[in-house]
């Protein structure tokens, strides 16, 4: 009599398909996603049906729930020029390192007086730092100067980009290189806060503004 052999099953599972899938997803997310920029303020924007994607070159003013005002300008060169102009205007000196930090930073919201100290902080502390926002009242309207010089700096760097694009033999549109003015307001903020900032823009004859909104499907 022969012994009945029970086939031995290996207790290990073939993990190859799972690994394949996992790496596929990793690759997909790596390629498809853009990393979220760390922002010093949390802002919940209202939604709209607009499908216009946020432009590349922007001067962004953020207004949070409490009405604090923050600023961001895209472009490293433009930011360098901006801080140098502001430093001359307000007689606040910045060293090389501070200018460098400012150029690679994103949104900020502090007074000119606070700014050198703010720039000296390590990035972690900067996140925790409680700022009062950029002053924009009539007696001390720093926001107006930030926007004014920000616009000039962005226009200058836009011009160089335009010339470069022209040299490369493309047919660029000068309007694509002009900065767009974007307002990012918290839905819960009182409109009066936004109105103050809008009035600053209008005083500088910048009447074409954009509001950041999250997407919403249009009704039929």
């Amino acid at each position: 009599m022969s012994k009945i052999k029970i086939p031995k099953h290996s207790p290990s599972i073939d993990m190859t398909p799972m690994v394949d899938l996992a790496f596929l997803l990793v690759t997909f997310f790596m390629l498809a996603a853009s990393i979220r920029n760390p922002e010093p303020v949390e802002v919940v924007t209202p939604s709209s049906i607009s499908d216009k994607i946020i432009p590349e070159k922007i001067l962004l003013v953020t207004i949070d729930k409490g009405g604090r005002v923050f600023l961001n300008l895209s472009g490293i060169e433009a930011r360098k020029e901006l801080i140098q102009n502001m430093s001359a205007k307000y007689k606040v000196g910045f060293n090389e390192k501070q200018i460098e930090t400012f150029a690679y930073m994103t949104t900020f919201g502090c007074t000119m007086k606070e700014l050198p100290g703010y720039l000296d902080m390590p990035a972690e502390d900067r996140k925790k730092y409680e700022t009062k926002g950029i002053p924009s009242d009539t007696t001390n309207n720093q926001l107006k100067d930030w926007i004014f010089y920000g616009n000039i700096a962005a226009l200058n760097s836009g011009k160089t980009d335009y010339e470069n694009a022209k040299l490369e033999g493309k047919n660029p549109d000068i309007n694509d290189f002009k900065p767009k003015f974007v307002l990012r307001v918290d839905g819960k903020a009182v409109y009066v806060h936004a109105q103050n900032v809008i009035d600053v823009f209008r005083d500088l004859r910048l009447n074409n503004l954009n509001f950041v909104t999250s997407a919403e499907t249009a009704p039929n």
Partner: protein, 218 residues
Amino acid sequence: MAEIAEGGGGNEKGGKKRAKKSSTRVDMTPMVDLAFLLLTFFVMTSTFNKPKVMSLVYPAKIEDEPNPPKQPQINNAVTFLLTEDKIYYYEGQYFSAGNPQGKPATVLSETNFGPNGVRKYLAERNAYVIKNVEQLDSKLTREQKKLMAEGEKDTIYERKVIEFKKHKDALKVLVKTDDKATCKNFIDLIDELKIAQIGVIAPVDLLASELELIKAKQ
């Protein structure tokens, strides 16, 4: 973990020496761990839909211009007065009580953000533009629609739409806000105006007498 070492241990019977069979399989567990760790990281940090923007052109400040133009006679206009989560509106010009022209004083009507509120009202009032734009849309060929979806600007189409929006039968809107209105209220209203294809939107300052009317309503 998933792999269990086989044939190990010390059951060597009878002194017979066997070559150790080493498994050809590689333990993939650490690799899988890593893969999923990366996966979680990318899922958490990534943002997919880039934020959208809604553009709005504000009227230039009047003191900017050397000779301020005369207040144009606005025909077919409606003024929205926004306060906390509520919309009031009146049509045409504002008349205070006991005005010299002898017109009846302006009375505010109330509406809301619901689909049967402001959206229905605007669709009725701006029917001229909505109808004409729909007609234009229906004339577009499939190729044109495809091109426009890809970002190509059909200037003739756009020019016609703007022409309709500026026509005297099109509704013009003034938006005024009081000190209690939130940004969400404002953007929601502008959004409704854009849905209703309104081309002329002017956010302007609230008059003191209008604020009185709002207060009287509450």
